[in-house]
């Protein structure tokens, strides 16, 4: 690849207390790519996201964000390299209202979406801007979690299960938002259980099993490898 990777992981091992969850995982994401990490429950997808973000208790190996080694870095340092994180549990603050949730993350770079623009993109959030963050519906909370990091000017996004547990019409909306991010040239790493969504959005798929990457499938190869993917995912 000619362009240097935005994210390059080599031989990553990750631990929760005594249990060894990631076993020498490697992957690479180029600028402007949308990459999906797919795999069964418990394969280590969320742990991978938390490891990239510096939120895992112990990790070894190498994680380079824009060429910078972050394996020993603190979460705040990693974020300041321009990483926007949407956690699996969404992480909406109950003690903040919707606007405050949106304004919380500090600016990390140029070119973030302004608050007005975000409210145009997500009219529901504008309507409920004075509501306590956790009073929103699941779909609205997910919108808020994504909108929140779009404001910061980050250019590498980690989206952990953005469509989990949402109604199909909301899933469509979120897909549109992610398409929009892609069209803007932003880089997205997506953990996704919904294979339909992943296949629609991603340029490449990393298939995870037992804390390792077991296959990489480019968009074009998807049809040819569909049976293998389905057996790996158990669908």
């Amino acid at each position: 690849m000619a362009e240097p990777a935005v994210l390059q992981i080599d031989g990553l091992h990750g631990f929760y207390g005594e249990s060894h969850v990631l076993h020498g995982l490697s992957l690479e994401v180029s600028p402007g790519e949308v990459v999906a990490i797919i795999g069964r429950n418990g394969a280590g997808k969320t742990t991978t996201m938390r490891a990239i973000m510096g939120l895992l208790e112990r990790r070894t190996g190498s994680i380079k964000v824009k060429g910078q080694e972050t394996i020993a870095a603190l979460p705040e340092t990693i974020a300041r390299l321009g990483v926007g994180f949407v956690p699996e549990e969404r992480g909406i603050y109950a003690s903040l209202d919707v606007t405050e949730n949106l304004l919380l993350p500090p600016k990390l770079g140029e070119g973030g979406t302004s608050l007005d623009e975000l409210y145009r993109l997500f009219p529901n959030l504008r309507e409920r801007r004075r509501s306590q963050g956790t009073r929103l519906s699941g779909g609205e909370q997910q919108m808020l979690a994504i909108a929140r990091v779009l404001r910061t000017g980050a250019d590498l996004f980690l989206l952990d299960e953005p469509t989990e547990g949402l109604a199909p019409v909301i899933v469509e909306q979120i897909c549109t938002v992610i398409e929009g991010m892609k069209n803007k040239g932003l880089t997205v790493v997506l953990v996704e259980q919904n294979f339909h969504v992943a296949s629609q959005l991603a340029d490449r798929h990393y298939v995870m099993e037992h804390g390792r990457i077991v296959d990489v499938i480019a968009r074009g190869e998807l049809d040819a490898k569909l049976d293998r993917v389905k057996s790996l995912l158990g669908i």
Partner: protein
């Protein structure tokens, strides 16, 4: 019963309640952000009073300069202690924080007893706040009215900062979910140092306000902090305004008890604490589990 006596005790109660409010507000901020029940709050209160006395005695800096300087000095000492000591125990159970800050309280009190002995030292009421005014039904000493107004101002200013400013927004977020807040690029460890500084600076300011009323002595904070802990347990950790209201109410109830049943006055807050713990274990304004 004499109405003057009742009103007099109500005023004393309101003043004590003002000190409880500043102390418990500081405790609530520190507990929320650091997860530490800071028994040493009493030592910072005492140091607030002592530094006011030292500023006046040794440097000739009076009450009003002290109003700015004392919270800054006490807050700075607090931040050093947070960096050197408290930081090491965040991962451990709450009990360790209680034990460590109890040790800090004992150490600081011991240091001041060693340096200054236990006798109280008077601190004069500033000239501008001497005298009093007649309310018609009672005589109100100016300084006492000032203490109530000043402590309410400190508390409300703190509340406004926490509820209405970007800094407060970040503090609330870091209190609720520190690791996610860090993942957004916020330097939460630095915020914790700052929060501890603010929490103990409130105690230091309360010490200055108290200096002209009580005499300045090394042991003045140790007893107060026990009562303030009971106030915090009654109010719960959930709400800042709740802790202010609880503090003032309990101060006044204690004052009333002194009229009705003086022998039991020191006990009344603890009796209420037991009752509240039985009925609402998370406190009156705390989030029920």
């Amino acid at each position: 019963m004499n109405a003057q006596v009742i009103l007099g005790q109500l005023l004393v109660g309101l003043i004590n309640g003002s000190f409880y409010a500043m102390m418990s507000l500081g405790l609530a901020i520190v507990f929320g952000l650091l997860g530490i029940a800071n028994i040493a709050q009493g030592a910072f209160y005492m140091m607030g009073a002592f530094f006011s006395w030292m500023l006046l005695r040794w440097l000739g800096a009076g009450y009003f300069p002290a109003l700015i300087l004392v919270p800054l000095i006490v807050g700075a000492i607090g931040m050093v202690i947070e960096r050197l000591l408290l930081r090491r125990i965040y991962r451990l159970d709450h009990m360790y924080g209680l034990l460590l800050t109890f040790g800090i309280l004992t150490f600081i009190q011991g240091l001041f007893v060693w340096l200054f002995a236990t006798a109280g030292r008077p601190y004069p009421v500033p000239a501008e706040l001497r005298g009093g005014f007649d309310l018609g039904f009672m005589f109100m000493p100016t300084y006492r009215a000032w203490v109530v107004a000043a402590s309410l101002t400190f508390c409300l200013a703190t509340w406004l900062v926490i509820e209405k400013t970007p800094l407060g927004r970040t503090l609330r977020a870091a209190t609720e979910n520190p690791s996610l807040t860090r993942a957004f690029g916020v330097n939460v460890p630095a915020l914790m140092t700052f929060g501890f500084g603010v929490g103990v600076a409130l105690a230091g300011a309360a010490g200055l306000l108290a200096a002209p009323i009580y005499s300045v002595s090394p042991l003045m904070g140790g007893d107060l902090v026990i009562v303030v802990f009971a106030v915090v347990v009654i109010g719960g950790m959930g709400s800042i305004l709740g802790s202010i209201v609880t503090s003032l109410t309990l101060g006044v109830l204690e004052g009333l008890a002194r009229v009705v049943y003086p022998q039991g006055a020191n006990m009344v807050i603890f009796v209420i604490m037991i009752a509240v713990l039985l009925v609402r274990p998370a406190g009156l304004f705390g989030r029920q589990p």
